[in-house]
């Protein structure tokens, strides 16, 4: 009763399944390899000095990436200041207000913005802030030149579409029944949103923000033309500032072995930061799924 090609079918079946498994291994491999090398090469350079000291001049060993680490945090803080309010409020608008046609366009545009290469963002902010002074009513608000502000701005702008979409998604998950109950009690729309909807969705919004921060923390290209990088501690926001991705890049393409080692160390720290943020987010959202059953 078996068809003549039965064995061929069995073979194809087994072959394809094996192939799929092999491909999965191939996908997982790079991350494992990267992590392995980061640990192997970078671990030796990680010490207290690494976190606290400035880079030493060329030729001297030692020193650290203290300024870059601090710089990254300063930039992220600025980015959050820009990205979070605009993104969250924008997400609120998309979810709670607005006509469906307009909203469709906004969502579409946001998705496209998410796909714009990060380097493009860099040269745009360069043209905005670095080339000329920003003047308001004749007073120079932001002098021209590379600056931490420019870096923070570009990262913040990149965060906006990301945070907007994730906020909207999370708000959509809040059951309509909550809103209706509030309206029936005579609470105004705005207060409903702030006190009930946002509060319910707060965990989701926070995870969306954290994910966006993790994403921009690793960006190098846009910072090349805005924050530029700095061998020293930044004293003001209108000066160039160091950041981890920039420092890693600069060290990586340099000819000095000691700098290479520090690049690995910096990469290890950066990757841990990014992975920690991501994993932390997954962990936070996991409870929700478990409760659902």
């Amino acid at each position: 009763m078996t068809a003549p090609n039965h064995n061929l079918r069995k073979f194809k079946n087994a072959f394809m399944q094996t192939l799929a498994c092999v491909c999965t291994v191939l996908v997982v491999l790079p991350l494992l390899l990267v992590f392995y090398h980061l640990l192997k090469e970078g671990f030796t350079a990680i010490n207290w000095a690494f976190f606290t000291q400035l880079p030493k001049p060329v030729g001297e060993t030692g020193g650290g990436m203290g300024n870059a680490i601090v710089g990254t945090f300063i930039l992220l803080a600025q980015a959050a200041l820009i990205g979070v309010p605009v993104g969250v409020l924008g997400g609120v608008y998309l979810s709670e207000y607005g006509g469906t046609k307009l909203n469709w366009w906004i969502r579409f545009a946001a998705d496209i913005l998410n796909g714009v290469p990060s380097i493009t963002w860099g040269i745009v902010v360069f043209a905005l802030l670095v080339v000329h002074n920003v003047t308001v009513f004749g007073q120079v608000l932001i002098p021209r030149g590379f600056s931490a502000l420019a870096g923070g701005l570009v990262l913040g702008l990149m965060m906006i579409p990301l945070v907007m979409r994730t906020t909207e998604e999370v708000l959509q998950l809040v059951p309509g029944g909550y809103r209706e109950a509030a309206f029936a009690l005579g609470i105004s729309k705005w207060r409903t949103i702030v006190q009930i909807v946002l509060r319910t969705a707060s965990k989701g919004i926070v995870t969306g923000v954290l994910l966006a921060l993790a994403r921009v923390a690793g960006e190098t290209a846009p910072l090349l033309f805005t924050a530029l990088g700095n061998r020293f501690w930044a004293h003001s926001l209108t000066e160039p500032i160091a950041a981890m991705p920039l420092q890693i890049f600069a060290y990586a393409i340099s000819p000095y072995d000691d700098w290479h080692r520090q690049a690995w160390a910096g990469a290890l720290v950066l990757l841990l930061l990014v992975l920690f943020l991501n994993a932390g987010v997954r962990f936070l959202t996991r409870d929700r799924f478990q409760r659902k059953g």
């Binding site: 399944q17 999965t24 991350l31 990267v34 607005g98 496209i112 380097i119 923390a217 290209a221």
Partner: protein
């Protein structure tokens, strides 16, 4: 507030065009087809970079697409149940690795490996093809393609996985009931059904590949040239901006780079629009491009 999105789009377009204007006026369409990139004499042609971006992205797709879709199939149909969720999360974490870190690994680990092992082997076995002839440096177009592939695999896999999961179980059952093997069920009921969505995922990956900057810059060799050999160094649109922007003096030089940025933006946006439309008409609003 939400309307800032439109403001941002306009802003990007406006600034890029403004910056690119001098170069556009000087070179016109010639910019896109000329290969002369000569900052010393203030002559600029973008063709080598267009070539570099296109070829490296194409290579990346060639490598990434089969692997990603096979992995998505494994995750949705074949993997043991307890493994699926952790594996999926792991792959999503892979998408979070910053480009510069992968580039770092690329320079110091991948490129030497390619130079000392993989490329010579390729030259030995496939050297009759013009792609695999020529001197081997390690940094090369092919290295660029490989590293971009590594960067886009997670996103293609994630989106493909969502798409495959949305195929109705009833379709699979129909195939099983006819006495199909597991692979046949996947082929007939799942992959065929999901063709359009999978295509959208691929195009999304392409969009990501085109804009990839740091990792490529670190392994591609950064030499503007158009040659057949995959072992030869190349240069992409994004890389030239990254490398030369801060050194660009004068008026025309930066402007040419702005124009390159404009070209890059134009191509990326078009590809992304195409991908979004495909995905939206297949799976509805549930499929999100960000990881």
């Amino acid at each position: 507030m939400a309307l800032t999105i439109f403001a941002l789009i306009l802003l990007i377009g406006w600034e890029l065009v403004r910056g690119a204007k001098p170069a556009m006026l000087k070179f016109g369409w010639h910019f896109l087809v000329s290969s002369d990139w000569d900052p010393v004499n203030d002559v600029y042609g973008a063709l080598p970079f267009i070539f570099g971006t296109v070829v490296s992205s194409f290579l990346a797709l060639l490598i990434a697409v089969p692997i990603s879709i096979a992995t998505a199939v494994y995750l949705t149909e074949l993997a043991p149940l307890w493994l699926r969720q952790p594996l999926t999360m792991f792959i999503e974490l892979l998408a979070a690795v910053p480009s510069v870190i992968l580039g770092l690994w690329g320079i110091f680990v991948m490129v030497p490996f390619l130079r000392d092992h993989l490329f010579p082997w390729l030259q030995k076995s496939l050297g009759f093809l013009p792609f695999f002839q020529g001197p081997i440096y390690g940094v090369s177009m092919l290295a660029g393609g490989i590293i971009v592939a590594i960067m886009i695999i997670p996103i293609i896999t994630s989106v493909s996985r969502e798409i495959l999961r949305s195929v109705p179980g009833l379709q699979r059952e129909a195939a099983y009931a006819l006495g199909a093997t597991r692979w046949e069920v996947t082929r007939i009921a799942v992959l065929s059904y999901a063709k359009k969505g999978l295509f959208g995922a691929v195009i999304l990956g392409l969009g990501r590949a085109l804009g990839e900057t740091m990792a490529v810059t670190m392994v591609i060799g950064n030499t503007p040239q158009i040659v057949k050999s995959l072992f030869a160094p190349g240069y992409t649109l994004a890389s030239v901006i990254a490398n030369e922007f801060n050194e660009a003096t004068g008026d025309l030089y930066p402007s040419a780079l702005f124009e390159i940025g404009l070209v890059l933006l134009g191509v990326t946006v078009l590809v992304n629009i195409f991908a979004q439309l495909l995905l939206k008409t297949f799976a509805g609003p549930s499929v999100q491009p960000q990881h």
